[in-house]
């Protein structure tokens, strides 16, 4: 297009990376190097095995110093990967880092192209584009914005708890937001944890109460995040604290009110969430004894006063601390923070979706989570494994991969089922002496002490049947089967179909993203995998980062994982957040937009387009002005400006036009 060099005559250096064989095997790097050498403005072009290595970077630094290179193009991997690396190399040699341009010839060429000639041609086109573009580059400075010291952790399961404590211990103030009336998450419902079989409650509840007591942690249970605005280092989070009709500051969880609640008859009570419906609770309740905060909550969908407006209100009389308050309303609070950690967890697969297994149809078909409660001393049966008729099972079948590794439902492996099934097999056997069958597809026990645990169970005499279960039925073919549930499966090891009568069936349900994961992801402006798990920035190198700076993920919201992994991730996320906060500032890519007042006619086209209200009209001069601090650099105003008065740093029209022409200047 236009023919003015913004920052003087370019002396361009082009560096083509082999990335070992990753690029070199598909791209003829030598001819690419020679091609680049012939492009106008290019004073030298080199190719090298690993540009990101020290010698590679040193090559660039030296050429800048020795050969007066003032523009740098590196053709290698994606800028999302190493742009920063090479920019730093420029800085080290005293060159403004924005005189650097990257050509993505790995992710977008060598890794996706079959034919070597095609790949080489495409690589050259991208190099030509980068060369033309970099000639238009301008020197820029990164903006520094101070970082807010607080952190918001969303989700009070073991991941959220661990992250919150780690940060709090480091002296950061944490807002821990949990949707349920108590923190603890799924782990609180478990009895033992594999493979060590130590008691879940024993290791979790101390951490819970630590959270409740920690001076650096503001704990908001029964609360949800309504909205998030701002960017890394300076977020604004709006939290809705649902009315629990109990004053948290005065309630001590004595449960006198629960005693007093008029809902005495079983049929008027409601299923107890904590015991997955295996027991009932009243309208006012404490989820479980160690609930944190130790504060009751009144269920508006069960409480007569709240539903019908008339009740004896015995609870009010029972509470000496006058904590009960039917007038309470939802409270919306807004907090500022520098970083956000998402630890929203998972939900278990709904066993009704596999009708062939009879869940809901046969009393004695249970989900694994229900059994977790049954074997739990604090559970509805006080830890006794009893069937609904009160009898103890003599034969139990545990069906693996329910809802997992199944194209009809979830193709992925839920990773923890094999291990927890073995754990439950052990516990059931231990409590009842029953014969336990495990029906599995593959027994997946990778992890410290996991395989050993498997061996141990085999030694304990647990039965294993390799094969996907076809169905669970009460249709007896023999007397032996009468009154029992028959599990039909093909035993692929001995190659015959088998019918195994049992008293109790346990469905090892898989893990799934929360139903509202999509909304949550939108709210926090991050991405989801196709399954609905929150998407990490890089599967290997940035497993707890997201594509939104300042937002990290930990635990099962990112994908199925067991407790140790979850805790490790939580620690990692906390560490990343700490790194951000302790740096004290964020450097903002200077890709902000600005208005050339000489060209602006004041037509107001741009003003309504800015989602951040960064643009206003200077009525005196009759031109638009952009508040750089508010501009996030999307460039919408630039594309819209009919006068070409709006321009975006790093993405000027000229740079893009040059890139277009460059990309097309070679067939």
């Amino acid at each position: 297009m236009a023919s003015v060099q913004p920052d003087g005559e370019p002396r361009i250096g082009v560096y083509i990376c082999h990335c070992g064989v990753n690029i070199a095997s598909k791209v003829d790097t030598e001819s690419a190097r020679d091609f680049a050498g012939g492009l106008p403005g290019v004073v030298l072009s080199r190719d090298y095995k690993f540009m990101c290595s020290d010698p590679g970077q040193e090559m660039i630094r030296e050429d800048i110093r020795e050969h007066g290179i003032n523009r740098v193009v590196v053709a290698s991997c994606s800028p999302l990967m190493h742009e920063r690396t090479f920019r730093n190399a420029c800085i080290a040699a005293g060159l403004n880092p924005f005189y650097f341009q990257m050509a993505n010839i790995r992710e977008q060429v060598s890794w996706v192209t079959v034919d070597r000639a095609e790949a080489s041609a495409k690589a050259k086109a991208l190099i030509a584009a980068a060369v033309r573009r970099v000639a238009r580059a301008r020197a820029l400075e990164k903006k520094r914005v101070p970082v807010h010291g607080d952190v918001v952790v969303v989700g009070g399961g073991i991941a959220g708890i661990h992250a919150a404590l780690t940060l709090a211990e480091a002296g950061k103030h944490v807002y821990l937001v949990e949707r349920e009336p108590t923190i603890g998450g799924h782990m609180a419902q478990f009895d033992k944890t594999f493979p060590t079989l130590d008691c879940a409650a024993c290791i979790l509840t101390p951490k819970m109460s630590e959270v409740g007591a920690h001076p650096n942690i503001t704990l908001w249970t029964y609360s949800e995040v309504d909205a998030v605005s701002g960017f890394t280092g300076n977020f604004r989070v709006t939290v809705r604290r649902k009315a629990r009709y109990v004053d948290e500051s005065t309630c001590v969880g004595c449960q006198e009110c629960v005693e007093a609640c008029v809902l005495r008859k079983d049929k008027v009570q409601v299923p107890d969430e904590f015991n997955v419906g295996l027991s009932k609770r009243k309208a006012v309740y404490l989820p479980f004894p160690q609930a944190t905060p130790a504060c009751v909550v009144i269920d508006p969908n069960a409480c007569l006063q709240l539903m019908k407006g008339k009740c004896a209100q015995t609870c009010v009389d029972a509470c000496e601390r006058l904590s009960i308050d039917f007038e309470q309303e939802d409270e919306v609070v807004e907090v500022e923070c520098g970083a956000i950690i998402l630890a929203t967890g998972y939900k278990t697969f709904d066993a009704h979706r596999t009708p062939e297994y009879g869940y809901g149809r046969y009393d004695n078909v249970y989900t694994s989570l229900e059994v977790e409660r049954l074997v739990n001393a604090s559970g509805p049966t006080g830890g006794e494994v009893k069937l609904r008729d009160g009898s103890a099972p003599e034969r139990v079948g545990i069906i693996h991969c329910v809802g997992s590794r199944d194209r009809k439902h979830n193709a992925y492996c839920s990773k923890v089922c094999c291990m927890y099934s073995l754990k439950l097999a052990h516990l059931i056997k231990e409590r009842t002496g029953a014969e336990v069958f495990n029906f599995y597809i593959d027994m997946r026990t990778p992890g410290k002490g996991y395989e050993e645990f498997y061996d141990r169970l085999l030694e304990e005499g647990m039965q294993v049947v390799r094969g996907r279960v076809a169905e669970v039925t009460d249709w007896a073919m023999t007397d032996a089967e009468k009154g029992k549930l028959v599990i039909r499966a093909e035993d692929t090891l001995i190659g015959t179909a088998r019918r195994i009568p049992v008293d109790m069936v346990v469905l090892s349900v898989g893990l799934e993203p929360h139903a509202d994961a999509e909304d949550v992801r939108r709210r926090f402006n991050i991405s989801c995998s196709t399954e609905g798990w929150f998407l990490e920035r890089h599967p290997k190198l940035a497993p707890v980062s997201t594509f939104t700076d300042g937002v990290w993920v930990a635990g099962c919201c990112q994908g199925p994982k067991d407790i140790p992994e979850t805790v490790a991730q939580a620690g990692a996320a906390a560490g990343e957040a700490l790194a951000l906060i302790d740096r004290g500032h964020v450097e903002i890519e200077p890709n902000t937009a600005w208005i050339d007042a000489e060209a602006c006619s004041g037509c107001k086209t741009c003003i309504p387009l800015c989602p951040f209200s960064a643009i206003s009209r200077n009525e005196e001069l009759g031109v638009a002005e952009i508040n750089e601090a508010l501009c996030k650099g999307c460039g919408t105003c630039v594309a819209a400006c009919p006068s070409g008065a709006a321009q975006q740093n790093l993405f000027t029209d000229e740079e893009i036009f040059e890139e277009i022409e460059g990309a097309l200047s070679y067939a």
């Binding site: 236009a2 106008p40 993505n104 890794w111 996706v112 991405s527 819209a640």
Partner: protein, 164 residues
């Protein structure tokens, strides 16, 4: 700036200029790479921070400078990293398409796709589809037309001053 245009090969393959949003489609096409999905080699990806940055003139210029197709990749409705840039893109795109139709540019040559960061496979599919469609249509051949002039010289010089 001297013209670096290299001679265009006689029998050149169809070429597609792709404008990809940094936050979704560009990431998805990186993911396609890390997942080693192979697809048609015709696209030349140009990264922008948001599909809202895409000026209709980018599309026209690409076609004019020898592209046989243009693909725009942005975030799904509601997912824009900048809240609503993709809607601005949609509005401009729908109008541009009407103009292109009047100018006799076939519908398949210019496409807008919403592709999330995780949808690497969609990048592959769309690219392959488009390459086939354009191979069928043949080259766009707008290079022959007399050139429009450069942008105004006077303000270019002024701009250089303003910018540095």
């Amino acid at each position: 700036m001297p013209d670096v245009s290299l001679p265009i090969a006689e029998e050149r393959k169809p070429r597609i200029i792709a404008f990809f949003c940094n936050w979704c489609t560009y990431t998805a096409s990186d993911l396609a790479g890390t997942s080693r999905m192979s697809y048609a080699p015709n696209t030349r990806v140009i990264r922008v921070m948001c599909s809202g940055r895409i000026d209709p003139e980018f599309v026209l210029t690409a076609l004019r400078k020898g592209a046989d197709g243009v693909l725009i990749g942005g975030c799904h409705p509601g997912d824009c990293h900048y809240q609503e840039g993709n809607y601005k893109c949609l509005r401009r795109f729908r109008l541009l398409k009407r103009y292109l139709a009047q100018m006799g540019v076939e519908d398949e040559r210019v496409r807008l796709e919403w592709i999330a960061a995780s949808e690497a496979d969609r990048v592959r599919r769309v690219t392959d589809e488009m390459s086939e469609a354009i191979a069928r249509l043949g080259p766009c051949r707008l290079e022959a037309a007399p050139s429009p002039p450069d942008r105004g010289v006077e303000s270019e010089q002024r701009l250089a001053g303003v910018a540095s």
